[in-house]
Assembly symmetry: C2
Homo-oligomer: 406 residues x 2
Amino acid sequence: MSLAFSRVLRSSKRPSAKWTFSLRTMSSGSTLSDINPSKLVVKRNENPKSLPPSSQLKFGHTFSDHMLTIPWTQESGWGTPQIQPYGPLSLEPSCTVLHYAQTIFEGMKAYKDPEGKIRMFRPDMNMKRMNTSAHRIALPQFDGTALFELIKELVRLDKNWIPTEPGHSLYVRPTLIGTQKAIGVGPPNEALLFVILSPAGPYYPEGFKPIALYGTTEFVRAAPGGTGAFKLGVNYAPGILPQKFAAKQGYAQNLWLHGPEHYLTEVGTMNLFIAFHKEGGGIELATPPLDGMILPGVTRDSVLTLAREHAAGVRPIPGLPKDLTVSERPVTMAEVKEASLTGKLAELFGAGTAAVISPVDRIGYQGEDVHIPTGKDGMGPVSRHIWTELIGRQTGAIPSDWSVVI
Amino acid sequence: MSLAFSRVLRSSKRPSAKWTFSLRTMSSGSTLSDINPSKLVVKRNENPKSLPPSSQLKFGHTFSDHMLTIPWTQESGWGTPQIQPYGPLSLEPSCTVLHYAQTIFEGMKAYKDPEGKIRMFRPDMNMKRMNTSAHRIALPQFDGTALFELIKELVRLDKNWIPTEPGHSLYVRPTLIGTQKAIGVGPPNEALLFVILSPAGPYYPEGFKPIALYGTTEFVRAAPGGTGAFKLGVNYAPGILPQKFAAKQGYAQNLWLHGPEHYLTEVGTMNLFIAFHKEGGGIELATPPLDGMILPGVTRDSVLTLAREHAAGVRPIPGLPKDLTVSERPVTMAEVKEASLTGKLAELFGAGTAAVISPVDRIGYQGEDVHIPTGKDGMGPVSRHIWTELIGRQTGAIPSDWSVVI
């Protein structure tokens, strides 16, 4: 039998202004409860399992002993947060998420640093984005700081589930679903936020292996006025068929091309960077701008920030070319192809939470392959050094205020 | 306690070729089970409820005593169909539908005709479309005839839930969700098909009330290469915020406009028809073509077929103008606005399973209202007569092979 008890959270820091969110999109005029970490109820798992050996970890298939749930209703707002044994949810067959895809999620990682402290990377970014996503799909918003306090509790409780081998981490998946028990299309009167934890090995267990992309024009991931800039469930399932289509032709992922100009947008479920050799030396690192079709990725922002701080001399990154220009600008396939043929293409890589950096070695485009240079280690002159800095900051090996000890 | 028993279905007609689907998109080489109605297990609800009075029926809020579930796994295909008491589903928090919006659905209606027979309308269309949808989102396909056999069993068992007042029906909602217990993005290794029933009153309980539309260019419902032509959950939740935005400005629904030309595409979650007075008399009934952005609606197809059969003299519809041209062609807002100003606009209406026909009386467009004529009964010269014919066929008052006695 489970023992229920509530506890006062260790941390009660006031949220920083930049990532506190109001309930302004909820029913106006009423005073609804926000997420309240002090009301947390913990029901411990009486039958805890053990972290499987690293070799058995397949991404997203293993889950820890506990999960966090927080219900929401239109009448009273956010209810009692509960940490409870990981297990099935009971959902009415009529509930909104099952019919109309009303779901949003985030992906975060927790690491154990060399001293055994637990670290998470830029959680404020995920909490902020989750609120932006919620608004886009008419789900309730919340105090991101409060949710993160609860996530910390969950991760601390299941800290034995954080693998400690290099490149390993505990993947943290907050999800928010519409659970209204009615099949009309509209804002829900009930929702459920839950957080589950999945221990994860390195994306490339045997070192970086560049992937081949299929330049996709038959299907779109996003369109102007659509949902591509938000982390909604709806952006993912429709990509599975195109991915199978790409795989059939020998490519690992889709390179989503937009419009008659074939603008590069994203890679599979990652943001995208292209590095060009500049005339007369140095490198330009380019990524598509946040034009409404591009997900504002945490890794994307981190790569841009690191590269810009390096370029400005604020914080040089060892090994990275001194002459580095950082651009958020549209890039077409014609430009990439031309750069590949003339030797001006330095590298091309995906960036996202799961894989961190994912180098690319070719793009299938209009019946032929565009070659992308990669180094012996599978990486290029920008990604190699950015990756080292990023991983160092994530794991705590390199001190940084991006890494939050929890 | 529930009593489980299997039964042989009354009907064992062979499926007609046109709506039988192979399992060709499932794992190749293996022989996987298709949906098999003869394996049906029925667990009767020991605590049946009663159909509430009509006045208490709010669309999609009340459900009947039973539901149908059919599980699927990658290893063995479709499993045992089960009719069981309506109640919550137990879903792992990791399952695909909750994170990546892997869900498709259909909307159908069952009627009791004047003789008390149960009728459904063009179910072959829904079964065919559900398979097309499944393929688009990497969910398993199935024998549509077999599923319909099981739906018939379910509806017959809950036949007391079919309201008999004029304009009432039992709304039938088949849904198929990805239930893989893992958070990687990919084809699922598990899925669940379920069917629930909801008694429904007329969409317009007090007669037709034309609605106002907001000509929407800030948001898109669909885009070329996207999923607009398929009945996927992902097409619905993203429309809620735009609908709230329209409502704030005093409009009931979005009129989804596409591209710089502002092509009319759909209305809210309905297909769209525009009727123009032709030069020299007669009427053109136009609807946007199935260009990949338009849902191939059953009501859309029925309106087109009825209008074409009338125009060709095959089966004249009383009251409908004799000189009728039926077009599937792109229509721009400029054309609608011009027609409104010059008196050439006859009417504009939405068409879908829930509302059947939904007349429109104005469109908010670029800061002003475009006026749409409607008759005293809220309908126009085409919709009035098409609606009468359609409802007659659906309810069995007008004999038609579209109406299937079950």
